[in-house]
């Protein structure tokens, strides 16, 4: 359900960029999805297929999800660790004084447009 809402946001943003750049058809949209962003990539692509094909601009357009592994920073021992494996507690020093560095992204990285050239 959440993924559908995000798909509508992607479509709105891509439409705006396409209009600015006088693009008539987009062939690929590339996303950066953080590992702990709560977005499930395969659900996102399912929702995308359903919604994108309703738009002239996005018919058949592929949504590629590039996964960004989540990394947490420990403020006590000044080291990084894998968030998904260890959660909130630092595996090096067992501190809970830790912050997510990356992995929360839901970003549109780029769109790709096939151009006819001779």
């Amino acid at each position: 359900m959440h993924e559908l809402g995000i798909v509508f946001y992607i479509i709105r943003d891509v439409k705006a960029v396409a209009a600015e750049n006088h693009v008539e058809h987009v062939s690929t949209v590339v996303m950066d999805i953080g590992g702990v962003s709560t977005v499930v990539p395969h659900l996102l692509t399912d929702c995308w297929r359903w919604a994108a094909d309703k738009e002239e601009l996005l018919k058949g357009c592929e949504l590629k999800c590039n996964i960004i592994p989540a990394v947490t920073w420990c403020d006590d021992c000044k080291q990084e660790y894998e968030t998904v494996k260890h959660g909130k507690t630092c595996p090096h020093c067992h501190s809970g004084n830790t912050w997510l560095l990356r992995g929360n992204e839901v970003e549109i990285r780029e769109i790709q447009v096939k151009e006819l050239r001779c």
């Binding site: 959440h2 559908l4 839901v106 970003e107 549109i108 780029e110 790709q112 447009v113």
Partner: protein
């Protein structure tokens, strides 16, 4: 020959909604209207608590309610019947949350000139509503005793975005291993500035403290 042109965007999908939400907040401030976004898991007692609260404050504060639901309108009807204040239903069309645009559409159906406080009962869900800024002037959530005191650890974002955490159903405390002090500690780990108010929407205990907090919010 086909060539691929790449247009870089590098933009969070939430950015546009955050802009809409900020704009809505400014408009509401100029109109002197406070918008309280109330969130919780399904069944934590949002509607029951609202009824108690509204009946306590409605003679001094002009309240309206927007009930967000995926499909039904039972909550909007219940609020109208039990409190008499204006109450409208927003359908999210299958979506698990409301965003600033949907909130604005709902507000268009209320007479804001005649309103001091709009309360939005968000969709019952501890994950999604926390990620979508509605444009509310303050965010509150209800955690009910049967859900357990460890929820701030499991749903950190929800507790981070809320100015107020209401702990509801304190009347059933004897039947559950719910430690209020431990829960407060977990909440403040996520959000040092959160106000925590324990209530029972069933017995009415703590509702006056809640009303007092709200009066404080409205006066500034």
């Amino acid at each position: 020959m086909n060539e691929v042109k790449v247009i870089e965007i590098k933009k969070s999908v939430f950015a546009e909604n955050e802009k809409d939400a900020d704009a809505l907040r400014v408009e509401l401030k100029n109109k002197g209207v406070c918008l309280l976004n109330l969130m919780s898991a399904p069944g934590s007692g949002k509607t029951t608590t609202l009824i108690q609260l509204i009946n306590r404050i409605k003679d001094k504060i002009r309240v309206s309610v927007m009930e967000a639901d995926i499909d039904s309108d039972v909550d909007a009807v219940k609020i109208k019947e039990t409190t008499g204040v204006p109450s409208i239903q927003l359908h999210t069309g299958g979506m698990c949350h409301l965003d600033a645009e949907m909130t604005r559409q709902g507000l268009d159906n209320l007479d804001l000139e005649e309103t001091d406080l709009v309360i939005l009962e968000n969709v019952g869900n501890l994950v999604c509503p926390a990620e979508f800024d509605t444009g509310a002037t303050c965010n509150a959530m209800i955690l009910s005793v049967p859900e357990g005191d460890d929820k701030p650890l499991k749903y950190p974002l929800m507790f981070t975005v809320c100015d107020l955490v209401i702990i509801n159903k304190t009347d059933v405390m004897p039947y559950f291993d719910f430690d209020i002090e431990r829960c407060k500690r977990y909440i403040h780990q996520r959000n040092p500035n959160a106000t925590v108010i324990p209530v029972s929407a069933k017995t009415g205990e703590g509702i006056e403290a809640l009303a007092e907090w709200l009066r404080g919010k409205l006066s500034c």
